[in-house]
Amino acid sequence: VSDDGQLLGHVIHRLRTSLAVIAGYSELGMTRDDAAIKAEAREAIATAVGQLTNGIDEVMLALELSWQPSAGELAPVDLREAVREALTRTALRQAIVELGDGAVALADRETVVRTLQALLRAAGTGEARVSVRVLGGRARATIVAAQPVALDDEELALRNARRLAELSDGTVTVSGARLELELPAG
């Protein structure tokens, strides 16, 4: 309960910080007659809206995962298609996709897409590079964010991604800016 309380406190802090940026820059943009400030305000607000959306999505997902989540139906999943679908809803400013020959995992497709979406949220709102491959009999999707990802338990997106991955007998590993989802190959 204490851990959950700390996590919740951290999430609220992040959401309200994004709200502070939106509110503050909105007022600056409206009151300052300066083109550079207005452009800066637009940029800051767009980023904060992305962070706010990510945060709300994570809270909703965590709530859903606190009920008994189902592993879904295991079937071959083309990770390239799963990545493409996950990228249709992301706050990343730019995603560089290198899908190569692709990889097929044995998992529930919907769960894989949601795991990838959680990992993309953990990657932030800047740029990221996404690739898929098979290595050592495991299908892997790798996301390299623009900045190192928080490793502690305060990162709700990572916690959600790990829980989702476990449903498909998969794992999530993080090293610096690199996030990797590993699943049984299909």
Binding site: G9, I12, R14, R16, T17, A20, V21, G24, L28, T47
Partner: protein, 122 residues
């Protein structure tokens, strides 16, 4: 005379927003993302500190304790995103002068600074 303000927040966008909100001609702005806050306060001798309570790598509580241990009279405004009573009590016990809860309005921010520095217009 320009007063020096130290802004301690791990989010550079929040620090930038704070510095844009304050009248630049009246204040010299020092910035810290947390870990070097105490050292910067030692060197920069600010007149007031804005301190984010949740800092990765350097808890706001620890920074406040050290700031007040070195300069008890230094006004510190704690920036929080929560209304948590326990955190408020902890910060007040350590000598925090004021709380601002995010999101805050520019007028609230400027008013707080003027009140603590005694620079309110007559």
């Amino acid at each position: 005379m320009r007063r020096a303000l130290l802004l301690v927040d791990d989010d550079p966008t929040v620090r930038r927003l704070l510095s844009l909100t304050l009248p630049i001609e009246d204040y010299e702005i020092l910035e810290s993302d947390g870990p070097d806050a105490v050292e910067l306060a030692r060197r920069g001798r600010p007149d007031l500190v804005f301190l984010d309570w949740r800092l990765p790598g350097a808890r706001g509580e620890d920074v406040l304790r050290e700031l007040k241990a070195e300069r008890g009279e230094l006004p510190v405004i704690v920036l929080t995103a929560e209304h948590a009573q326990r955190e408020r009590e902890t910060a007040l016990a350590l000598g925090a002068d004021l709380f601002l809860t995010k999101p805050f309005s520019p007028l609230e921010l400027i008013g707080a600074v003027e009140r603590l520095l005694g620079t309110e217009p007559p």
